[in-house]
């Protein structure tokens, strides 16, 4: 009965399927590629022996096993989590603010995390003297605190609780926190390289403990953001019409921002301020597929993870055995890729 009735902007199974395959391929490549050539056969045997708890002779030395399981695997998995989280949080922010230029750091999460990290590096106890590493904790608290401040400021404005006042509050808070961060950094310029390296982002020191740390946050955050994807479409007609359609824009905006920020804060805490992912990935998906968040959000989860894994492969292999900051790669690769998408996309409207 639906012949000739294209159900527009639905999440076609081949998009999801294609994106999933793309993600899996990038994970496999990420595990296979590295400074040291481990034979694919050995890697597969090693994986099988772990998965099935059957002792297989893997042919890998103890050190090669450590490289595979302690270095590459957690790094690739963390790349997936960070990429998925930043991309879908970017999509969520774009949705709640009805602004394709929004990114997960818009409301001060990035500036807050940067300030937290700088304070931890400059004044915090040296690593190892605490049970918890102070740097990720401070970055996490800073990110949440930055957004909370923006929210309180934005909604204390008398003229109304609109998304515009919230963005303005976020811009003000971000500028303020960045100024504080710069001030601290200049006062303690011996920390400059460490702060700067953190801000550019890296997965270089990633291990399973980082994966375990962020996994629960990312799972919860992604679940809420993905589940809200249709509501983001409803928000796109504006608050008055959206509430006439039966939803509560203010409450939805707050919920989505809260959970997107939670996940963003967690991944920023372990990987630094990796930029461009949160804006480029959802926007490229929007240009190629649809403006509907029903499509953009789930695809951002899959393509975001794949994009960051691929960017990280470049970061650790191009100048191998030296490392390039992954934030530089996401920009270097992301910008031309984005330009390409921009040029080839059809149906751009005014």
């Amino acid at each position: 009965m639906n012949a000739g009735r294209p159900a527009a902007s639905r999440l076609h199974w081949w998009w999801i399927g294609g994106a999933t395959v793309f993600l899996l391929i990038s994970i496999v490549v990420g595990v296979m590629v590295g400074v040291f050539a481990l034979s694919p056969g050995d890697i597969i045997r090693s994986v099988l022996s772990r998965l099935s708890w059957v002792e297989l002779s893997t042919g890998l030395s103890e050190r090669e096993e450590a490289i595979l399981w302690q270095i590459r695997m957690p790094r690739v998995i963390l790349g997936v989590l960070v990429g998925s989280m930043l991309s879908s949080a970017g999509a969520a922010y774009q949705g709640v603010f009805r602004n394709p230029l929004a990114d997960p750091y818009l409301l001060g999460a990035g500036a807050g995390a940067g300030l937290g990290a700088t304070l931890a590096i400059a004044y915090g106890p040296v690593a190892g003297s605490w049970i918890i590493d102070p740097l990720p904790l401070a970055a996490f608290v800073g990110a949440i605190g930055g957004v909370a401040l923006a929210y309180v400021l934005g909604y204390s404005v008398r003229s109304g609780r609109t998304s515009v006042t919230l963005i303005l509050a976020g811009v003000a808070i971000a500028a303020f926190l960045t100024a504080l961060q710069t001030f601290v950094q200049q006062r303690e310029s011996d920390t400059l390289r460490e702060v700067y390296g953190w801000i550019l982002g890296s997965l270089n020191t990633a291990g399973w403990s980082e994966v375990r740390l962020v996994l629960p946050y990312v799972v919860v955050s992604l679940s809420v953001v993905v589940a809200s994807r249709r509501l983001l479409d409803v928000l796109s007609v504006g608050d008055v019409e959206a509430s006439a359609l039966g939803i509560q824009p203010v409450r939805i905006r707050m919920t989505v921002i809260a959970f997107a920020t939670l996940g963003t804060a967690a991944v920023v805490a372990v990987s630094g301020l990796i930029g461009f992912v949160g804006i480029i990935v959802p926007h490229a998906i929007r240009l190629v597929t649809s403006v509907s968040y029903r499509v953009i959000v789930p695809l951002s989860v899959l393509f975001g993870g794949a994009f960051l894994v691929l960017a990280d492969i470049i970061a650790r292999t191009v100048l191998s055995p030296a490392e390039i900051p992954i934030g530089v790669v996401t920009a270097l690769v992301g910008a031309p890729f984005f330009a390409l998408v921009l040029r080839t996309s059809k149906g751009v409207v005014s």
Binding site: D233, V240, A244, L245, I247, S292
Partner: protein
């Protein structure tokens, strides 16, 4: 049971009253227009129906207090079309009409087969199936009003609130849209409450009109009863003439002749 009962409704914006103690009722399947000069409080009165303003007094929608109807439940009773809907650039007509299904879906649910069928039925009811994949931002004025109405149909709400929905259209497009609304009213059994600027159009399409001035209800009844030359000259301007054509009042403003 009345579709809508306004009872001693007042709306105050920052200590400035814009609607004062208004009471009237709208019967089921009736079309009532709220008319009056700019700033008479038409839009504010309509907004009480969709929870977009705070008010005192009582507003009942099919016997239930409008303040107690919340969220999706209210949206399944009353649909709202603003003067100018926002059409998100890039969104397809299909997706826009699908938004009308929001009150019928769980907060986190996706659209079901039934929702999709409802959207197609709504598109067909307004003869815009062929636009389904068009970008809403590329439509003409008349087309966008059809799309808005399709969303209302998909919403399946028995009460339709139109806030100056045709004000930006040219005369023929306005006429066409009003005809459509009237047709939908009979085919879908909808009660319509509209704010209309054009008094002649209101007189032709509506069963009854509610005339507001300065926030107060100064007349309620059939167009011929309410839209009299004496009243309109008092609240609008002295040069107004009311001419009767085929039993309907035609309201015009004539240039004052110096004599």
């Amino acid at each position: 049971m009345n579709a809508i009962d306004f009872s001693h409704v007042s709306v105050v914006y920052s200590e400035h009253p814009v609607v004062r103690d208004v009471s009237f009722s709208v019967s089921d399947r009736e079309w009532v227009s709220v008319v009056g000069p700019n700033g008479a409080g038409k839009s504010s009165l309509l907004k009480t129906l969709v929870g977009a303003v705070a008010y005192s007094g009582r507003v009942d929608l099919r016997g239930e207090s409008a303040t107690e109807l919340r969220g999706r439940h209210r949206a399944s009773v009353v649909a709202y079309v603003p003067q100018r809907s926002f059409f998100p650039p890039g969104m397809t007509v299909f997706d826009f009409v699908l938004l009308g299904r929001t009150p019928h879906m769980g907060p986190l649910a996706s659209e079901s087969r039934r929702d999709i069928d409802e959207v197609w039925e709504a598109l067909e009811a307004l003869h815009i199936e062929r636009f389904a994949s068009r970008d809403v931002a590329t439509l003409s004025g008349g087309e966008t009003q059809r799309v808005s109405l399709a969303r209302v149909i998909a919403q399946r709400a028995p009460v339709l609130v139109l806030d100056e929905a045709t004000a930006s259209l040219d005369l023929s497009a306005q006429h066409e849209v009003l005809e459509l609304i009237d047709a939908l009213r009979s085919s879908h059994g909808i009660t319509v409450v509209s704010a209309i600027h054009d008094l002649t159009a209101a007189a032709q399409f509506c069963d009854r009109v509610a005339l507001l001035s300065g926030g107060e209800l100064i007349g309620f009844g059939s167009p011929a009863e309410v839209l009299t030359e004496a009243v309109l000259r008092e609240i609008l301007e002295p040069s107004i003439r009311v001419i009767e054509v085929d039993g309907n009042p035609v309201i015009v403003s004539l240039r004052t002749q110096e004599s």
